[in-house]
Amino acid sequence: MSQPHERIAAALRRAPGEPLALVPYITAGYPSRERFIETLREVAGAGDVVEVGVPFSDPMADGVTIQRASQAAIAAGVSLRWILAALAEAGPMPAPVVLMSYLNPLLNHGFERLADDAARSGVAGFIVPDLPLEESQALRTALEARGLALVQLVTPATPPARLARLCEASRGFVYAVTVTGITGGDSGLPSTVSEYLDRVRSVSSLPVCAGFGVRRPEHLRQLSGHADGVVVGSALVEELEAGRDPAAFLRGLRDG
């Protein structure tokens, strides 16, 4: 049986000419704590890998939408422990689940215990936006022992030598941040994005997924052929807040 991080990569890898893979993001337990698993199942069914946000009190890389979602989820009693327990109880999902969390809740849980609990809950990997490669050894070691991914993020500001190191160290996929900024922007993707993504793809042996500011079909058309997949976060959270069908929104993005 393949390792969890290999399942992520397999779900996202795209041959030239194939449509982009979709990585939808939801904040766990938002807008409804009771409907978390139901929402996750719908979203995972419409995506190739699903990203579940662990709410944190100080989400410094996130814009207003995910800040609002995180704050409400914490107020509703959502925590890392609760998420892991809910996932364990829910059983297999239609797509591999990756947890997006700031470092402190993970540190607080303890890395060894985290890797065990995550593996038991069917989680395939982690994205940790405030954990640069240089500080990540202890977590990577703990996750690798369980075959779990620690996805590295790269940005347009990342110099070439560092880009190669990050792609080499990443597992599951490489998360290519499209814009210099926080999540949830709506100012369009930079004109240089395709050239930047081509550069990332040329050094990465893993699938490359573009994220931050991806919210409309035209964005997917712009990225098509330059990435394996896209991460859709704030735009999807806003759909959920408005009470609309997340799967319909994701299909609309893909087919639009």
């Binding site: 410094m60 809740p105 405030d130 500080e135 900024g181």
Partner: protein, 414 residues
């Protein structure tokens, strides 16, 4: 990642500290510190680190900084013999008068140094956060002096309770952004300043105001604030013929405390005491006494002590003093506590306010509520140690606290 050490480990860490080995090349003070920042900022942090080392080693930069510290900031600040407090407390009390530095607090030492660094690095804009508003005012003034536009993020709660400083920032040409997210105090202001910086890491310089944050900030801020302790040590020796028995500073993020303490670390006869904000009492959420009641964690870019709940969410804090109302603390303080070189205590809101009024009446000096925590800590120490020589870091003046203090006017009249 341990916060408790064996005796052997403590003495090894102390000798490495005294040998100047901290922070190491990874920005670590023992296990604390580091650089936990989004990837977008890593290149900018590298650039600042290199620029900082080059600037601090450049005699031209140092001459410019020293010249500005003398003729624009007004350094050296005096060491004042506090005769009234000495009599009342039965001790020999000396006040290091950072309240007399330009803009009214120690914050200017760091703001000026970093504004000059930002200029040297070619920054087009400076971003800063502020709690009490002292760092915001200092940054606004330093940026005006150096000629770089600046934006200051300030929690909406603090905008209200420190309104005189908001007006001063505008007068000095800064733009002030009231932060409505998170806890709407210093912590949310730092989150928001980081977000602004993440959006523009190439052209903006983040002028962080305390000895916190990702490497190199805890080191850079310490280097710029150590002028406080260097002067105080020299002045104390010149005036009294010896060193103090103990030195006191308030600790929020810990920049004035690290600045006062650092030059005394090797003087093992000098007891160093940091005083945290004990707020309303010991309950979680009632104070900002991070070193007393926190656990190790990561906030705002470094691994240090942190007030957090059982799930690792950062805890909301309370202090009557906006400048100390912060759930984290600089990583070097976490080390100094773990190895026992600095003692950390706390005083309550009421004890700080009593010390403030006592200082007003005994010395004719209105200290900041932040600095009044150091006074309260020293007063408690004097009760146990009669006749000792005490050095107190009076980190700032209390004019900005008038909106808060006027709420208590009845208590003073009674």
């Amino acid at each position: 990642m341990l916060s408790e050490f064996s005796e052997a480990e403590r003495s090894r860490l102390l000798s490495e500290l005294l040998a100047g080995r901290f922070p190491d090349e990874h920005g670590r003070f023992g296990p604390f510190g580091g650089r936990y920042a989004p990837e977008t900022l890593i290149t900018a942090l590298e650039r600042i680190t290199e620029g900082m080392h080059a600037a601090l080693a450049d005699s031209g930069f140092k001459a410019t900084l020293d010249g500005e510290l003398a003729e624009w900031v007004g350094r050296p600040t005096p060491l004042t013999a506090a005769r009234g407090l000495s009599r009342r407390w039965g001790a020999e009390v000396w006040l290091k008068r950072e309240d007399l530095a330009h803009t009214g607090a120690h914050k200017i030492n760091n703001a000026l140094g970093q504004a000059l660094l930002a200029q040297r690095l070619g920054a087009r804009r400076v971003i800063a956060e502020t709690g009490a508003g002292q760092h915001g005012v200092a940054t606004a003034a330093a940026c005006a002096r150096v000629g770089i536009p600046c934006v200051v993020y300030m929690g909406a709660v603090d905008v209200k309770r420190q309104s005189p400083n908001v007006d001063r920032m505008y007068q000095l040409g800064a733009r002030v952004e009231a932060v409505e997210s998170g806890d709407r105090t210093l912590r949310a202001a730092i989150d928001e300043a980081f977000r602004a910086w993440v959006a523009d890491p190439e052209e903006s310089y983040y002028l962080l105001g305390s000895a916190v944050g990702p490497h190199p900030y805890p080191y850079l801020v310490r280097q710029l604030q150590s002028v406080i302790g260097r002067e105080a040590r020299e002045q104390c020796v010149a005036r009294t013929g010896g060193l103090p028995d103990a030195a006191f500073a308030c600790v929020g993020g810990g920049s004035n405390a690290i600045g006062l303490f650092h030059p005394f670390l090797a003087d093992t006869s000098v007891r160093l005491v940091g005083v945290e904000a004990g707020g309303r009492g010991a309950g979680l959420g009632d104070n900002a006494a991070t070193l007393a009641t926190g656990r190790p964690g990561v906030l705002h870019g470094s691994y240090s002590m942190l007030l957090q709940d059982p799930d690792g969410q950062v805890q909301e804090t309370h202090s009557v003093s906006a400048g100390l109302d912060y759930p984290g603390v600089g990583p070097e303080h976490a080390l100094l506590k773990a190895i026992g070189r600095v003692e950390y205590t706390s005083c309550t809101d009421d004890e700080a306010l009593d010390a403030l009024w006592e200082c007003c009446r005994a010395e004719g000096i209105l200290p900041a509520i932040e600095s009044s925590h150091a006074l309260a800590g020293a007063r408690a120490f004097a009760r146990e140690h009669t006749g000792t020589r005490l050095l107190i870091g009076l980190s700032g003046r209390g004019d900005k606290d008038m909106p808060t203090l006027s709420q208590f006017i009845d208590r003073i009249r009674s």
